[in-house]
Symmetry: C2
Subunit: 404 residues, 2 copies
């Protein structure tokens, strides 16, 4: 009898432990933190229902990507795991990226539930922890490294720089790409500073405060304009204030706009890393009009960031050292020489549209033009992309943004 | 002592029951099927972390949507809960739609894990059941009705028609919109047949077999071209075979392309239902070039579907009965009269680009033009959008597709 009681007591303890484990697993990520499927050593193209990579490896058979397996050799840092960053991380995880480094200091809230990825039972957990558990369950082949801190403080900035420089797939090597999915000017400038110093290629993304426009931008230090040379949306459409989240303002957001921005961001990452299609230097999304402007920008030789200017010098030397014919061709494909900063429109705005566009051209320094214009038949509600004659120069706008 | 044993045995049974419940909850949807948060009677604009609707209600304050709460009065049927349909359902659920009706007959497989939404521990469950549990957990305010069957069989088709006609938010009323997120020609034609017969507005979506292009299309029976008048991508770019999944072919797929297509689909749904921005009749996505063509098409007066022709007659009568000035204006906004079917390009291709585009124009009946052209500097890998001179007419292509 005594033995029976002891066995029962043991069984109760065992069950209580298992129940607690189950509950914490469910709270954390919905899955069981890796047990959803076994790890896979080598990506296989085999067409069977049990192969999670069959539809990706099919990109080779379809003639889109030469070497899809290469995806496993890349490490990507994502700063900001919110409406855009979390979906970006999930897409890369499902694509079978080698390693993800996630940076965020926020907690999951019910107020985030109007965007994809996080679920109500995760409210209160740190975003990076909740994301890691969910993502690990989705694809246990991916390596994760998460940092629950604000990159803009002095101490954390040093650590952030160190992980960008050494947190690659092989420890000690730099990451292959940094993705900015943050919602404020300061964090973007911090990433910009780090990447200019390290010569680290990165992509920036953003969604407007009114939830109906967004953009992505590829920044190769020294080669294309950095965030300090000219913040993308100031140049693009004079919509600075609505683009960057202001302190104390409850911005609107939509899962649609954020899903599209994450989608075009990760698509650009895949094209960049796996070498297919045309990589965009800037791609905008205007949801009200279903308009997607593209452009590219040369760096500003007078950029405030001295590391940007240094990278520009190094890039010039690199280009000068290349055999002549290739250089000329490459330059011409990316950059037009007919204005100071090389801003150009790529195919979205016809001559006729430009003629018919409403609104005066904003007051910008010579050589900078707006990236898109508004068609004549315009609804009142799209004030955020109206090119207003605010009488402010680019410098004024940037000074304003710095003060936010 | 006997009492103690009995109590312990009861406790073991209780714990075993709870553990089994926890495990089944986790297997089904990751959450606890509704306990993630409590139901909310009325959408509030209050800016607090615990309000899941604060960022959506902010769309009113931002001047984008007049009456966001109206979202709760709509019922939407989604046919196909795969790579596009599942994300579409999740976005609408997070936006707080009134009711979703989901139709699919497939099971979750590990081979689906390269797209968003489903998780490995759901493998083996029916897609509609797994989706319902996950979505109910995300937003318990949404009503769900799921049907685990193939809509193309005679018996199921009748039931499908009945639910479209009577499955609205109030039983007996029709749904507000049908979304096609299927991957084959037969299912699209079935939805088209049903919607033409019922005069039901619907939106079609598709992703190409090579994973790097997609489209959405709005079909208002009698007013815009139906799927039988001219399948969208045949007209758009002569890429019939790669667009529609063929039997026995393992199509490639990417979470990026499917996420973008779901995003532009649900954005179009929100604009259509909540009356903001410009609703697109057709929006394409070419991921290789980051090119997003738009167009609109008038219905074909010789359409094979007699209900389409009937709806055209009814639309004509309706338009004729309207006061004159509005009619003329409305017509001119949507449709140009300079070719037989009213196909027009909207602003994406400039005159210069058209001149510089490579490849001969395909052999299509008079009055039909291609929706987009390929810029001169073209990579070899984008064969799927090359306008080839196949010598085939639109009729030939459609006959081919019907035989697939």
């Amino acid at each position: 009898m005594a033995e029976s009681v002891e066995r029962l007591q043991q069984r109760v303890e065992e069950l209580e432990r298992e129940l607690a484990q189950e509950r914490s697993r469910r709270a954390l990520g919905g899955g069981d933190g890796g047990g959803g499927r076994v790890r896979i050593e080598k990506m296989s193209p085999e067409v069977v229902d049990s192969n999670p990579y069959s539809r990706l490896m099919a990109l080779k058979r379809m003639g889109i990507v030469n070497d899809y397996e290469k995806i496993r050799t890349f490490a990507i840092a994502i700063v900001g795991v919110g409406g855009v960053g979390s979906v970006t991380a999930e897409m890369l995880t499902r694509c079978g990226i080698g390693k993800l480094l996630l940076f965020d200091y926020d907690k999951v809230e019910l107020a985030n539930m109007n965007r994809l990825f996080f679920q109500p039972h995760q409210a209160g957990l740190s975003k990076v922890q909740a994301a890691e558990y969910t993502l690990r369950n989705i694809n246990p082949d991916v390596l994760f490294e998460v940092h629950n801190y604000n990159i803009t403080t002095v101490e954390n900035f040093q650590h952030f720089m160190d992980r960008i420089s050494n947190g690659g797939l092989e420890e000690g090597k730099p990451v292959d790409l940094v993705l900015s999915c943050v919602d404020n000017f300061e964090a973007r400038m911090t990433i910009n500073t780090a990447c200019n110093e390290l010569g680290q290629t990165w992509m920036e993304s953003g969604v407007s405060e009114n939830a109906v426009s967004g953009h992505i931008q590829l920044i190769i230090p020294g080669e294309s304009a950095c965030f300090a040379c000219a913040p993308p949306l100031v140049v693009a459409a004079n919509i600075d204030e609505k683009t960057l989240k202001r302190e104390g303002v409850c911005a609107a957001s939509l899962p649609t706009t954020m899903g599209v921005v994450a989608g075009i961001l990760v698509q650009n990452v895949l094209k960049f890393l796996l070498n297919f299609g045309t990589v965009s230097f800037y791609l905008g999304y205007n949801a009200m009009q279903d308009f997607f402007p593209t452009m590219s920008m040369k760096p500003n030789p007078q950029c405030d960031d001295r590391n940007c200017r240094k990278q520009q010098e190094e890039y010039k030397k690199k280009v000068a050292a290349l055999p002549k014919p290739e250089v000329v061709q490459e330059e011409e494909e990316i950059i037009h020489e007919d204005n100071e900063w090389g801003i150009e429109l790529v195919s979205e705005v016809s001559e006729e549209e430009l003629k018919n566009s409403s609104g005066p051209v904003p007051d910008l320094p010579e050589g900078i033009t707006v990236a898109y214009t508004i068609p004549e038949k315009q609804e009142d509600s799209v004030a955020e992309v109206t090119v207003e004659d605010s009488g402010e120069s680019l410098e004024d706008l940037m000074a304003k943004m710095k003060n936010m």
